[in-house]
Symmetry: C2
Subunit: 331 residues, 2 copies
């Protein structure tokens, strides 16, 4: 099934079930009002939502209405965890090669992950609000999953059983803030503003055999200012699968229901696939010409991130955002 | 007022109001069942809780019962954000001096903060469960605040207005996992297991003039295996106040209600105050004798963290935990 969260001026919005073709939706009222509730009590609530989903797909849901992605918040407008991996080692290799740094041997066996802020996600069509273009605004097209409870010490195989939903993410990064921040030694902080997610999060049965061994075998399309810049294959080159990423978190603590785990920038060795973040394009330019040529995003720029099924239909709906300056306001 | 969360087998527990002297408590049923609800709608709900609190203090609350800290979860058993600072620069200086590293000049003007996991906090009397003593188990006694909504771009002065509650934290650290993890460049992850918080979180009026300019002027007592090892002054040497820490987060994003912000290990230049984490004791030993002597915690060790008011009474109740190994379980 496909689930979304509609804006209603509340912090967590209203849970809606969305039809497979993303044409219609139906409030989940009577079952659950918020997605987190469903994740907290999945075995009880998800079959009820599935029934509604099937009725909706058959055109039998009584109060269906046209689905509008622009009315969506992130499927989880706020979450108890957002842990993002860097699971495509090719991305790490490119970025490091551009600055003449080696990739440590351990990076091929031990996932690189960072803990992100999760109190204020933005919707798929919300503006990316940034104080200054000088921050080096970049998009990052990623795959993300939402988990069940996974206990401390879980193996990657056990952790993989904890994947409830899959969606897309735009893990916006402020590139020019990163060097100084990472030099401080405690990881990303100000360089990672609010993350955006796709209009719908879907259960694994929706993607069929595209979900294989903890990887999503789909093409992630990134379109920057109307120009398709990335057609990256998300499956085969994902060095660590989602089971391994979740198990990485579980080494020293429990992962609780509703945690969101990201793949990191989707990246392919074959440069003809394009790029899922501008930093990678700039790394390639640096490797080829000694310096980057492509500039980061400007106010007014747009970024669209989407993945389509074998039938050519959008699976998660599109993240479709504009970069915008902060508006002065009185507190 | 003083607020706590009682265990009831649910994920978020039951909100209780606790009397000033921590002797009695009363369910907040009828007002709110969860602390996050109150933070989401503070102006409406907090006056009602305050009324109940006053009745409780006067012995007039009808269904009061004896308060038992052992029945507490963390005041927020899970939160949308846990951002921890390292606001006592003396702690940073000591740790760096022990390994012959300089403290960068920027550390005196730009707070060091890391994003922590917030999906699975532990209660004040819950065991600290760790897979292996080899991880280098350490406590970290800290002050923490719970925030209101604070918008992106807020100044430290504006951010300070967003402090709703104050409490104590034991930010457990796995010291032997830290060097390899920080070397990867993305900050703490596996080295920071579940954090524990004090039995009660209190509004600022409860600490009176001990709260001054965003700092809590109280003595933080740390007792390890029954021996008082730390009597550290939390106020005067806090390099960055809580307004500055919250504003640091707000530089590039909004901070939403219910975010928890920590001070980092409380630390004093005068070593006679003792220590709020073992790593600091070991740093002092290394500076004095060339190598650390004190070992990290073992299974069965206990740690008690508390702060007392001028009247000698415990303000937040005590964090009082035992270190325990993970128990093998079938998933």
């Amino acid at each position: 099934m496909k689930l979304a969260t509609y804006k209603d001026s509340s912090r967590d919005g209203q849970l809606v079930v969305v039809s497979r073709d993303l044409s219609t939706a139906h409030y989940a009222t009577g079952i659950a009002s918020k997605l987190q509730q469903v994740l907290d009590d999945w075995n009880f609530m998800s079959p009820q939502l599935q029934d509604l989903y099937e009725a909706l797909n058959q055109g039998k849901a009584r109060h269906a209405f046209p689905f509008e992605p622009s009315r969506c918040m992130a499927p989880l407008p706020r979450a108890y965890q957002w842990a993002d991996g860097s699971a495509y080692i090719n991305h790490v290799e490119l970025v490091r090669k551009a600055r003449n740094a080696e990739v440590p041997e351990s990076f091929y066996t031990d996932p690189l992950m960072y803990q992100g802020g999760s109190d204020d996600f933005i919707g798929p069509c919300d503006d990316v609000v940034v104080a200054s273009e000088d921050f080096g605004i970049d998009f990052e097209a990623e795959i993300a999953v939402v988990t069940a409870d996974v206990p401390m010490g879980a193996t990657p195989e056990q952790a993989l059983e904890g994947v409830r939903l899959v969606m897309l993410a735009n893990d916006v990064s402020l590139r020019n803030l990163i060097p100084d921040e990472l030099a401080k030694g405690f990881g990303f902080f100000q360089s990672k503003p609010a993350t955006a997610f796709s209009p719908v999060a879907v259960t694994l049965d929706e993607v069929g055999d595209a979900w294989d061994k903890g990887r999503l075998h789909m093409t992630l399309q990134s379109t920057w200012n109307g120009r398709k810049v990335g057609m990256c294959e998300a499956g085969p080159e994902m060095t660590f699968n989602f089971g391994q990423l979740i198990a990485h978190i579980c080494k020293t603590r429990n992962v609780r229901a509703g945690s969101i785990v990201g793949s990191g920038t989707v990246s392919n060795k074959d440069w003809s696939h394009g790029y899922s973040c501008i930093a990678e394009k700039r790394a390639i330019e640096t490797i080829e010409d000694g310096k980057p040529k492509t500039e980061f995003m400007k106010f007014g720029d747009t970024i669209r991130i989407e993945a389509k099924g074998k039938d050519g239909l959008s699976v998660f709906g599109a993240i479709d955002q504009k970069i915008a300056p902060t508006v002065a306001h009185s507190v």
